[in-house]
C-alpha cells in the first residue's frame, strides 16, 4: 500500500487516509488543529489544563498542545493518581519527564487524598466493575484540579474509539440525556463549578493515537490499565473495532449521528444543577456521586 500523498510505503490506512509515517504525523496534527478550530475549543489567552496520565494518548495531546499553544496560552498538566501499583507509578514518572521536556508545569491529585483509599484498596473492598468507581472519582478530580489551577478549559485525550463507545453504551442503556452531553466540547450546562472539557482527538482513532506516539518516539508504556477491559465497555470496544475493520468509517459515522441528534435536541431542557452539600461542586443530586463514593469508602 502506498501513501496517498507521496507514494512511499504506507504505515496506516484508516478513515483519515492511507499515509506514510511523515504524512501521517502531519495529517494527525492537522486533524487535531481543525477540530480545535471548528469547535472553538481553545481561545487565545485561555489557561488550558491537560489531563495527563503519562500514557500514550495524553502525552501525544500534551505534545501537540504545547507545540501549537504554548506561546498564546498558559498550559498546565494535571494528573490523577488512582493508586494502581506497578502501573500508575510508572506512567507518572514518564509524565514528569515529558512535562519537563515540553516546559509544562504539572500538578498531581490522588484518590488516596480524596477518599483515604487507593484504587487497589477500592477494588479490595468494593464489589463490581472497578471502572465505574474509578470513572466517578477521575471525572470529579479532573474537574476539581482544573478548577484549582483556574483553568478555562480542560483538555482530555479522549479519541474517536472512546467517544463511539460512549455513544453506543448510552444507546444500549437508553440514556439520551447522557449521550447529548458528549462531543468535542463536553458539558451542556454553564456553571461556575464546571470547567468545560474539550476533546481535540475526537476524530482520531485509538490506533492512530498510538501510532502517532510511536512515530514521535514518545516513550509511553504500551500496556493497558490492569483493571481495564472488564464488563460492558470492554465488550463494546471490541465490537466497535470489529465493525471498523469490516466497514471503514463506522466510528466516525456513530459520532456524526450523535452530533446530529445533539444539534437537533434542546440540550438544556429539564436539567437543573444544584450544588453538592458536601463539596460545593455542581451536581444533579443533593450529594454528588464522588462524595457518595467517598463516604461509602470511609465508612
Amino acid at each position: 500500500m502506498e501513501c496517498e500523498v507521496c507514494n512511499l510505503p504506507a504505515v496506516v490506512s484508516t478513515n483519515n487516509g492511507t499515509l506514510c509515517g511523515e504524512h501521517f504525523k502531519e495529517r494527525f496534527e492537522s486533524i487535531t488543529l481543525e477540530t480545535i478550530k471548528k469547535y472553538k475549543l481553545i481561545k487565545r489567552g485561555e489557561t488550558v489544563a491537560v489531563a495527563n496520565s503519562g500514557g500514550k494518548d495524553s502525552l501525544s495531546l500534551l505534545y501537540i498542545i504545547s507545540k501549537y499553544f504554548r506561546k498564546s496560552n498558559k498550559i498546565i498538566s494535571i494528573t490523577i493518581d488512582e493508586g494502581i501499583k506497578g502501573y500508575r507509578d510508572k506512567t507518572m514518572e514518564i509524565m514528569k519527564e515529558y512535562c519537563k521536556r515540553y516546559g509544562v508545569d504539572y500538578k498531581i491529585y490522588s484518590y488516596k487524598d480524596f477518599t483515604g483509599k487507593t484504587m487497589d484498596d477500592i477494588t479490595g473492598v468494593r464489589k463490581g466493575i472497578p471502572c465505574s468507581a474509578c470513572g466517578v472519582l477521575r471525572r470529579y478530580l479532573i474537574n476539581y484540579a482544573a478548577s484549582e489551577v483556574k483553568a478555562d478549559k480542560v483538555a482530555t485525550a479522549h479519541n474517536m474509539d472512546d467517544e463511539a463507545e460512549n455513544v453506543v453504551m448510552n444507546l444500549v442503556q437508553n440514556d439520551l440525556e447522557k449521550m447529548i452531553r458528549l462531543g468535542a466540547y463536553s458539558g451542556i450546562v454553564k456553571d461556575g463549578g464546571f470547567v468545560p472539557r474539550i476533546k481535540p482527538f475526537l476524530f482520531l482513532s485509538e490506533k492512530e493515537t498510538m501510532l502517532f506516539s510511536i512515530l514521535n518516539g514518545i516513550n509511553a508504556i504500551h500496556t493497558p490499565c490492569p483493571y481495564a477491559g472488564f464488563g460492558f465497555r470492554g465488550l463494546i470496544s471490541r465490537k466497535i473495532k470489529q465493525f471498523e475493520t469490516e466497514f471503514k468509517g463506522s466510528k466516525r459515522n456513530i459520532i456524526e449521528s450523535m452530533l446530529k441528534i445533539k444539534e437537533s435536541t434542546d440540550t438544556k431542557k429539564g436539567i437543573k444543577i444544584n450544588r453538592c452539600i458536601h463539596c460545593g461542586f455542581p451536581s444533579i443530586n443533593e450529594v454528588c456521586e464522588a462524595c457518595k463514593l467517598r463516604m461509602e469508602l470511609q465508612n
Binding site: S13, T18, G55, S58, E165, H222, T223, R238, Q242
Partner: protein, 67 residues
C-alpha cells in the same frame, strides 16, 4: 512460512502462515486491523494488505483504551 512474533502479553512465539499475508496473521492472532500495530525488526510498520517478510520478527502491539 513461519513468522516470529513478540508481544507484551504472550511473550515470543512463532506462527505459520499459508498465504504469508498480514491479514492472515491478524486473523490467526484473533485480532483485527483496527486493534493492532505490527512493527518489523527494522521498524517497518505493516498494513493489512501486505505480505510479511519471511525472516522478519514482528512486534505485535495491541491497541488499547486509556492513557
Amino acid at each position: 512460512m513461519e513468522v516470529k512474533l513478540k508481544n507484551v502479553n504472550f511473550g515470543e512465539k512463532a506462527v505459520s502462515l499459508s498465504s504469508g499475508s498480514v491479514k492472515e496473521l491478524i486473523e490467526k492472532l484473533d485480532l483485527n486491523d483496527d486493534s493492532v500495530i505490527l512493527i518489523g525488526k527494522n521498524g517497518r510498520i505493516y498494513t493489512k494488505d501486505e505480505k510479511v517478510d519471511e525472516k522478519d520478527e514482528i512486534n505485535v502491539i495491541e491497541v488499547f483504551s486509556g492513557g
